[in-house]
Amino acid sequence: MDLGSLLNALILGVSIASIWLIAALGLTIIYGTAGVINMAHGEFIMLGAYSSYMLQFYLGLPYLLCLPASFVIVALVGLALERGLIRYLYNRPLDTLLATYGVSLVLMQGVRLIFGSDPKYLAVPEMFQSNVMLGSASISAFRIVVLAITAFLVFALWLLFYKTRFGVQVRAVMQNKEMAASFGINSGRIYMMTFALGAGLAGVAGALFGVLAIVLPTMGASYVVQAFLMVVVGGGSLAGSVVASGVTGEMQSVFAFFTNDTFARFIIFVLIVVFLRFRPQGLFAQAGARR
């Protein structure tokens, strides 16, 4: 057993985990606040990747500016979706799942009609193209950037939810919508903003994924199931999603080290089923969380 390559696998695990985490955080925020199961989240990720591609390809925007731009673009798409469709479906969680699946079909096919099915590539920014040595393991600088961005996003979200007035209102609506409303909190507005925020996070995730993988109209589908599993295992809370993504991402890459990638995914699925048998509420169940 080569220790260096195991260390490599462990470090790779952290970066897999951070990718899953950004996708899962957006879902968690949307689900945790409004109880909406957003099946179009994968397509939001895809839209984020395409917006970054367009900004880079047509406007020549530097990559680090594409990230916030993708956030804004996809957040606006999310806002439009929430106003146009989702707000009529609150309190019908299964119907939000179905309606957003319809949305995902439309988005996927729409993008395919506009851009075609051929893969697009986001260039790795030049300054992150080098490799960094960590002991005997070598890791690409871009993966460290991904980690840094994830850490920044988690910290920013923590600040937003626990240190601002908006965060207090969101948490109040999460725990008891009627009570929050009677204190003058406009829950409709909170739902709208959290949906846009979650969508925007998916946009950032897409801009990051776009560099590590190929940009395709169908790319969203492969991420959304994984991201949902993180929400389920985490129990629908932010902290739960962070821990769940970390643990499963790490386990995935260690199993993959001993077997292969697809088999590792299968093992993870089985372990999650067994885990839910003993802890159906997830890692950190949220007070008053809907399920």
Binding site: I37, R92, D95
Partner: protein
């Protein structure tokens, strides 16, 4: 006389007319390809029916019905594959290409046609019973259960692609000749194959209908509407949920077997997330609270797909997605609810209706 839609006798009468209409099709249609295609619609109808039973009546949204369908299909394909292998040469060609020198344990029971066919139905059913049992006893329900079925589906999808020497990988299995059963060869383009499929569809529909009308079905519908109250009344909610989920899986497994009999082919595409979600779309558009509505939903959508799909190949999914959004938003109980309200208007005109909700399609408040 109330709303005719809720009249049990009327419902059975509609079923009789519907199935009688389909039974006489082979006597009037000569086109064997069309017959084969209509029979595949029968398979889709079975799948939509299984979703309606599980989701409409049990309140369990199953996004992974492709597991039962796919495993049933693989079991049947393995049986048919082994029928074409003789004793001296028991290893299918694709395994030789993957340099296997003996028949894997997994494949050995399929050498016997009857054992193989029983396994093709029993294995997915058993899987549903175990998986459903674990999940429902842990009180995983609603959207979380839907997500778990979705995850399980993609787990099976990846594992089938990964274990190429045993499953044929992405290529799947293509048994070279049609099913031989009890000395006969079942030609997939013959009226016999058509009648077999519609026989199963009829049987599944009648059994599903009887289940929903039984006291078991009544409790299941009560669980759908308020599982906590039913639990407090002392019923084993998990037990009821597991049974309805397993029956639904059984129907899907039979559908999988029929499907392979008709098309002589199976691949991981049958376990694709998109396919399982389309089953849900059929039931949702047709009307998940109505068994017949779901079946018709499958016919309408798949029919539209094969006739419009060729011309609007690129935009079809766009249209389907848009239509689906509209149905969920404005017609949550599907097209069948249009019939229901139409007949309700008719009843209202004829005088005061005696409020006598009967049969399977009570007006249900959106969840």
């Amino acid at each position: 006389m109330g709303n005719l839609y809720h009249n049990k006798t009327a419902q059975w009468l509609v079923y009789a007319v519907f199935f009688a209409g389909f039974a006489i099709i082979p006597m009037t249609v000569d086109d064997s390809f069309l017959l084969n295609q209509l029979a595949t619609y029968g398979v889709y109808g079975m799948l939509a029916l299984s979703i309606s039973l599980c989701w409409g009546f049990g309140g369990i949204l199953n996004l992974g019905q492709g597991i039962a369908f796919g495993l049933g299909a693989y079991g049947m394909a393995m049986t048919m594959q082994m029928q074409t292998q003789d004793e001296s040469n028991p290893i299918p060609p694709f395994m030789l290409n993957n340099s296997l020198d003996h028949l894997p344990m997994l494949w050995q029971p399929f050498q016997n046609t009857y054992v193989g066919m029983i396994l093709a139905v029993a294995a997915p059913t058993l899987f549903c019973a175990v998986f459903g049992g674990i999940m429902f006893r842990a009180r995983v329900s609603g959207p979380f259960f839907a997500i778990m079925t979705l995850a399980m589906l993609s787990a099976f999808y990846t594992i089938i692609i990964d274990r190429q020497p045993y499953t044929g990988g992405v290529n799947g299995l293509t048994p070279p000749s049609s099913l031989q059963f009890a000395g006969f060869e079942v030609d997939p383009y013959s009226p016999t194959a058509y009648w077999v499929v519609f026989g199963f569809l009829l049987g599944a529909t009648v059994i599903a209908k009887l289940i929903t009308q039984s006291s078991f079905g009544l409790v299941t519908q009560a669980i759908r509407d308020d599982s906590e109250r039913v639990r407090f009344l002392g019923y084993s909610v998990a037990g009821y949920e597991t049974v309805i989920y397993t029956v639904s899986g059984l129907i899907a497994a039979i559908a999988g077997c029929c499907w392979v009999m008709l098309v002589q082919y199976v691949s991981p595409a049958q376990l694709d997330v998109g396919f399982s979600l389309s089953m849900v779309i059929w039931a949702a558009i047709g009307g998940r609270y109505s068994l017949l509505g779901s079946i018709l939903g499958a016919f309408i959508i798949q029919g539209a797909q094969s006739y419009l799909g060729d011309t609007f190949l690129a935009t079809w999914l766009l249209i389907l997605g848009g239509f689906f959004i509209i149905v969920v938003r404005f017609l949550p109980n599907g097209l069948a609810s249009l019939v229901e309200s139409g007949l309700g208007l008719f009843a209202a005109k004829r005088g005061p209706a005696s409020a006598e909700p009967n049969g399977d399609a009570k007006p249900i408040p959106a969840e």
